[in-house]
């Protein structure tokens, strides 16, 4: 099982290059996502944050090496990577607009063979009662905040070991963002779920994260614990608005 190994080593990214066609976006990233921790990737628009997450899931052209637990997943198909326990909430939430809320959750459990899927759905309906109310409504008709809850719940329906979140706060009202990030923290504390979050809102992200990486022009410019980054003058100036 990769689970045991993953719990010891997490995810490791070595010399990762990522490109779309002829445009190289990532130019040799090296970083690790320690297990049971929350790591955050900061960076300006166009720095390559989203591409980093996509490259990890093999959703763009990549070279280099990505290791999940002790398995090299650089050439593994996205669908297989998900089956190995990595869930990804893409930018723009990536729900299925024409499917009902319930179907969105059910498809989240597509890779599972056990018979506890319905229990998990009920659990998410308990955590996000608004989703329960919208159970039969098409996901496309949900509000931005509801869709983000749905996207997270759907990603967790596959019972992942590692959750990638791409700008979960994008387009949401401040109160909803706070609520969402509190839930992420709870989730991490209660279940030990490893998270890698890409976020523009550096204050919020560093507050909940254990580790942070700053990407500039497709390279890691800074890395360290969240506290180290928070106290770094360069980070303060560029991302924390100090």
């Amino acid at each position: 099982m990769i689970d045991d190994v993953f719990d010891e080593v997490g995810l490791k990214v070595e010399d990762l290059h990522g490109s779309y066609g002829a445009v190289e976006v990532l130019r040799g990233l090296n970083f690790e996502v320690p297990p049971r921790n929350v790591s955050v990737i900061l960076g300006a628009n166009g720095a390559g944050k989203t591409t980093t997450l996509r490259a990890i899931c093999n959703m763009c052209n990549t070279t280099g090496k990505v290791t999940l637990g002790d398995t090299d997943i650089t050439r593994t198909s996205t669908a297989e990577i998900v089956r190995m326990g990595m869930a990804h909430v893409p930018q723009g939430r990536g729900t299925f607009p024409e499917l009902s809320t319930l179907d969105n959750l059910m498809i989240g459990a597509y890779t599972r063979k056990d018979n506890e899927v319905r229990d998990d759905v009920d659990r998410w309906f308990e955590i996000f009662p608004v989703l329960s109310e919208r159970s039969n409504q098409m996901a496309g008709s949900l509000s931005g905040g509801e869709q983000q809850m749905l996207a997270v719940a759907r990603a967790l329906m596959c019972r992942p070991r590692l959750l990638l979140l791409d700008e979960p706060s994008l387009g949401l009202a401040p109160l909803i963002i706070e609520d969402l990030f509190e839930r992420f923290t709870t989730l991490n504390k209660e279940t030990g779920l490893t998270m890698l979050i890409v976020e523009q809102n550096a204050n919020l992200a560093l507050d909940m994260a254990d580790y942070g990486y700053v990407i500039e022009s497709g390279e890691i410019a800074l890395s360290g614990t969240a506290d180290e980054l928070k106290n770094d003058p360069a980070v303060q100036e560029a991302y924390l608005g100090a």
Binding site: S77, T78, A79, V82, T95, F96, E98, Y110
Partner: protein, 316 residues
């Protein structure tokens, strides 16, 4: 001008039963379009091939007609999977031109191969609704019932019941099975489908399989109206089905069926009854195809997403 309203219901019934067949073929088009936003021009020829499979199994090998139909639908489904795997999957799904050209090429190849094997003469294929047991009521030996003083053929009823049953089964597959859920997910958002672990290629193959089976069903149902099977039998049917799919909305399964039926009605009522009977212009019957193109044109100009299709909204 003679307004023969007394025979109008005959034409409506005819339109409804032809339309149901167009709807079946339109469904085959839409199933693939929904998942790939791609028009499969080989839909008609694949259906024709399916009808010839029924011809071989039933007329030549002597298998029971309905069993032959089921077998042929299964074989068509297998062929659909094979085509998806070998001819469309290697290409970038975002780039439509190569795949559309491939389906056009398939259209020509299948037509030529069928012509080579079975030549272009019409071959009689038994009507699935041609024989009824004696307990089925008949009027003066003819197989129809009287509705509104007009003759409603058993064949039409048979086509409707068959299509309704097929739609019911399709609904069960799409809404009650995991593969169906995956298919709807891929149709809705391919990237996200990958991100929940769906093998999108296999799922598209599944779509091709159902589409091919539906196409074959449509071809077998339409064969009796054309006098039998021949390699060119689906050429015009495909145009009517395309008109129906455009009318209903290219990504709506229910719309495809309704659109197909409406094209059948337009054809029967406006062109055949209105043109030939009322206006007394025999040549009007050759305008049926033109009417289909007119429908496509009007839909594309005034409502490109059709009656039930989703309008493309780009969110920023």
């Amino acid at each position: 001008m003679t307004w023969n309203f007394d025979i109008l219901p005959d034409f409506i019934f005819n339109g409804l039963s032809l339309g149901a067949i167009y709807g079946t073929v339109a469904l085959a088009l839409v199933l693939i379009f929904k998942a790939t936003t791609l028009i499969n021009f080989a839909t008609g020829e694949l259906a024709m091939l399916g009808a010839f499979l029924v011809y071989v199994l039933h007329m030549e090998q002597g298998l029971w007609l309905w069993l032959s139909m089921l077998l042929a639908m299964g074989l068509s489904a297998g062929l659909g999977i094979l085509i998806e795997r070998s001819l469309t999957r290697p290409f970038d799904p975002a780039d439509h031109l190569p795949v559309v050209l491939i389906t056009l090429g398939l259209f020509l190849i299948i037509n030529a191969v069928a012509g080579d094997i079975w030549n272009y003469q019409v071959r009689i294929l038994s009507n699935p609704f041609g024989k009824f047991p004696d307990w089925v009521p008949s009027v003066g030996g003819d197989r129809f019932i009287m509705v509104f003083g007009s003759r409603l053929k058993y064949q039409s009823i048979g086509i409707w019941v068959t299509l309704a049953l097929a739609l019911f089964i399709l609904g069960l597959i799409l809404n009650r099975t995991k593969a169906g859920l995956a298919f709807r997910a891929v149709s809705s958002n391919v990237d996200s489908a990958r991100l929940v672990g769906v093998h999108t290629g296999r799922t598209l193959g599944f779509g091709w399989a159902i589409a091919s089976a539906f196409g074959t069903l449509g071809a077998v149902l339409v064969a009796p109206q054309l006098g039998g099977v021949n390699p060119n039998m689906m050429a015009t049917i495909l145009i009517y089905a395309l008109a129906g799919a455009a009318l209903g909305g290219l990504d709506s399964l229910g719309g495809a069926v309704l659109g197909g039926i409406m094209v059948g009605i337009i054809q029967a009522v406006f062109v055949t009854w209105g043109g030939v009977v009322v206006l007394g212009q025999l040549y009007m019957s050759i305008l049926q195809l033109a009417a289909a193109f007119l429908v496509i044109l009007i839909v594309l100009i005034f409502r490109p997403s059709g009656m039930f299709g989703t309008r493309r909204v780009e969110r920023v």
